[in-house]
């Protein structure tokens, strides 16, 4: 049994026991004859005195009981090693070229470009949320970064986001536009993909 399940069980036990105290007091000291009657889920309920007190308190506590905070992500660290198997005459690959994704969350895009992605947001020791940036790339389109952490800032396209910390939602009101490469002037800088000529540096 997990700690969360034990905690839930403990809460139910407490909720069941606590109403006994005022109910017992009502029963023993006041000899109350108060009753509760009426329809409930298709049944006609008629209970009296201490039992009324018990159930009123029980259901009230049950309704306001603390619920476990589920459905959120925790940050874990997974460590290991990648090993690249290749023929002897092949060059050792550059490990920085490895691109890693993890699923879930599955970051898919629906028809019309709509999306709703569950993303991990780290909370620091002071409770501040550190939102990640979204990086959106598509073949033959210019990549776009959406800096959720900083809002609209130069270097990225302007966007309008509404943060709801209670519901844990970020609503981006403005469409995120990606420019096709054909809609932009041709980038002249890319040299032809020819075998290396020995020139290893940039400009």
């Amino acid at each position: 049994m997990t700690a969360e399940a034990l905690w839930a069980l403990l809460i139910i036990i407490v909720i069941a026991i606590v109403p006994c105290v005022p109910s017992w007091w009502l029963y023993r000291k006041l000899e109350s004859s108060g009753t509760l009657d009426g329809p409930w889920n298709g049944f006609t309920v008629k209970i009296g005195g201490a039992a009324t007190c018990y159930f009123l308190i029980f259901f009230t506590l049950f309704a306001v009981r603390p619920r476990p905070d589920t459905g959120h992500y925790h940050t874990w660290t997974v460590s290991g090693q990648l090993k690249f198997l290749h023929a002897l005459d092949e060059e050792e690959p550059n490990v920085n070229d490895a691109l890693i994704r993890f699923v879930p969350p599955r970051l898919g895009v629906l028809n019309g470009g709509m999306f709703a992605w569950e993303i991990p947001v780290v909370e620091d020791a002071n409770g501040r949320l550190a939102y990640p940036d979204l990086q959106i790339d598509m073949r033959n389109y210019g990549g776009v970064t959406v800096p959720l952490s900083r809002g609209t800032v130069y270097g990225a396209k302007a966007f309008d986001a509404t943060f709801d910390e209670k519901r844990r939602t970020i609503t981006i009101g403005t469409p995120i536009e990606l420019n096709s490469l054909k809609s932009l002037p041709t980038y002249r800088g890319i040299p032809p993909a020819a075998p290396a000529t020995g020139r290893g540096g940039g400009e």
Partner: protein, 130 residues
Amino acid sequence: MTRSLALLLAIALAAVSSPVAGRPQAQAAGRPSIVRGYLYRMTSQGQVPAGGIALRLRSPQYGVSAQAQTAGGSQRDGGGMYYFYNVQPGDYALDVLVSAKEIYQLTTVHVRDQPNEKQPVTDVPPMAVR
């Protein structure tokens, strides 16, 4: 006394209505440009696009930009390319972010004002990375 107050008020109003008042970091110097470039790695097979590399622009006037990442995939599909948007004319340092603490300046970028271009674009020459 009244004239002095009126003069002070006029000066204050002029200062407030000035386009640069209170926003020294965000002066509208010209039309914002797209800044783009290409990063590659040298291998025995030649140049290959370097995908997944984080970059940023930095300037004393505008501070640090949003990060951009080079796209993955082949060169023909736009792999190795990075794009910064809404960059005002000026001089910038282009940094590579290896990690939060490892940041290297790759080059400097001059973004010139292009008032007549429909979509101003500034191309940074291709650069090799390790």
